[in-house]
């Protein structure tokens, strides 16, 4: 770090504060808007100071929903999103750590072919294969279900590759010591490899949870019932109204509520991240 003198230092701070303001202002605006009366916002005379409708708006958002467009309590949407994001994150980690274990530690026919097939799926995100995926999910009668929401998003080449890379750095002697200590493949995986992968799993969990939480296109396609709606889809539906005024305070409150779980996950897992980085296990 270089210590700047006088004016230069203030200039740097001013620039940084402007940056913060640019990023934070929309969030502030959302908070303010969620506490004001919808009529005032619709008039285009929105105040930049918080209004007095905080409790009222949030109560309506969480437990009642908008009166016009969706009529679904946002709490229920959040629950749907939470279940989907957790299923995707946990499912992806579970599937990919097992497949990486198979690829790294076992010799079986077509091992490399299978590895490359997994690798190639990296190039086929959900959006590209959306029609066949929809067809399969529909044929399996999984529309409007948590399984339908999460299963197609669970298979993950990225996470498999990440675990594969990590397993390759685990010294072979550890496996050999385990074999001499009488641990079979399952025990080695459970007693040694999983505990060593803890920080990797935590990092992946954060990324995958946010990825799952922010899914939009897929839930939009396969959920038709209001009570299966996720929050990201819900926000969009709230804005489009046919014959009534968009209830901006509720929309803003929903947007803010939609931010909370990812923020929470990052804040909580950050500690595990840092601990994992500080105590390098070798």
């Amino acid at each position: 770090m270089v210590e700047e003198e006088g004016f230069q230092r203030y200039l740097a701070h001013v620039i940084l504060w402007i940056g913060i303001a640019i990023v934070a202002f929309p969030v502030y605006l959302a908070i303010v808007a969620s506490t004001q009366d919808n009529a005032v916002i619709a008039n285009g005379q929105m105040s930049l100071l918080p209004g007095g409708h905080f409790l009222e708006t949030y109560y309506q958002t969480l437990f009642v929903g908008t009166s016009g467009s969706t009529r679904e309590p946002v709490l229920n949407m959040m629950l749907n999103s939470l279940v989907m994001a957790l299923l995707i994150a946990v499912g992806k980690i579970a599937i990919s750590i097992i497949s990486a274990y198979a690829i790294v530690y076992f010799r079986f026919p077509f091992r490399m072919a299978i590895f490359w097939i997994i690798f190639i799926t990296l190039m086929l995100p959900v959006e590209v294969r959306i029609y066949p995926t929809y067809k399969i999910v529909a044929d399996l009668h999984l529309l409007d279900s948590y399984a339908g929401l999460s299963l197609p998003l669970i298979a993950s080449a990225t996470a498999t590759l990440l675990f594969r890379q990590f397993f390759m750095t685990v010294p072979d002697e550890l496996l050999e010591a385990s074999r001499i200590d009488g641990a079979g493949p399952f025990r080695f995986f459970w007693d040694t490899l999983l505990p060593l992968s803890r920080t990797n799993m935590a990092a992946l969990f954060v990324i995958l949870f946010i990825l799952g939480w922010n899914q939009y296109l897929w839930p939009l396609l396969i959920t038709t019932r209001d009570d299966m709606q996720t929050i990201q889809v819900g926000i969009r539906k709230m804005i489009t109204t046919t014959d009534a005024l968009t209830e901006w305070p509720v929309v803003m409150a929903t947007a803010l509520l939609a931010m909370l779980p990812p923020v929470f996950v990052v804040v909580v897992m950050q500690k595990l991240f840092v601990r994992g980085l500080v105590e390098t296990e070798k």
């Binding site: 050999e176 010591a177 074999r179 200590d181 007693d191 060593l196 390098t280």
Partner: protein
Amino acid sequence: MANVTLRSVRKTYPGGFEAIKGVDVDVGDGQFCVLVGPSGCGKSTLLRMVAGLETITGGEIDIGGRVVNQVEPADRDIAMVFQNYALYPHMSVYNNMAYGLRNRGMAEAEIKTRVEEAARVLELSPMLERKPRQLSGGQRQRVAMGRAIVRQPKVFLFDEPLSNLDAKLRIAMRVEIRKLQRRLNTTSIYVTHDQLEAMTLADILVVMNGGQVEQIGNPLDIYQKPATTFVASFIGAPPMNLMPLRSDELTSQIAGADGAGIVGIRPEDFVISSETVSGGVALGLTVEAIEHVGAETFVYGSRQREEQGVAANPGELPPGEVIVRVPGATGPAIGERIRAVAPRDKLHLFTADGRKRVAG
């Protein structure tokens, strides 16, 4: 307690590379066998074959009267100490030692007794709850030993266990390993590339080169009567001086050198003297370098009339260079001309290809 017998053991890798070319070794009950050789000679591969970590493509390995070729490592009743210790990083010292016992379904009370006993012997008692990363190199090494001891196996296998320690600790641990092995009286096989470690630890020394055994025997016998020039230059530091016998002054000096093509003389068997020895060797040398070790001094000299060149194998001397050991700290000066003399009974004679020892 068990014998370990290797009968024409072979290892050929799928690519066709032959790592072990038929090895016969018999380690008696409670004996300490050291496999020594340069990198890539197959000593570690052989040890890992005994452990069951490498498959055996030919011959038989017999532990305690049972052929174990097809037996899983865990069922061979062996314990292994790895070069990098291979401790489980996420487990405490206690759990590292207890893990193998738990997998065997031993009662927790018995495990506790064994681990605490091993910790006491290895002076690890105060750190049973620590993780490996909180330990020094020497302590980790002792945990690795402890993990082997608690199993009370038939055979200990050591794969260069001291290579990652600093020189001083290495010597201390070497003595500890020897004492521990004597006390437990467990058959042990130890792999090292350090000839000093090999000499000091072994009951039986196996010198390996290129996947084959060069010589097996008591370390002192091997030192005094090396079977090949490879063994002669590998065992002993600094290495034995090996000189080809051509039609020069050297050949005419040595009595009874029929059939010999190479003469070997250990640096400590030379004396700097002007006397002549009948049947022995006297070399005129120009001093090129001096190494003071304290208790002794090594004089590096070059012979006249000998072409200079590079050593044929690592660890051997370049042709024309001769090392002479002088006791004490005084030696000749650089550039000085000296005469190094060795008596007939200190000469080692080998055939010209270096593969066989000729009388003497």
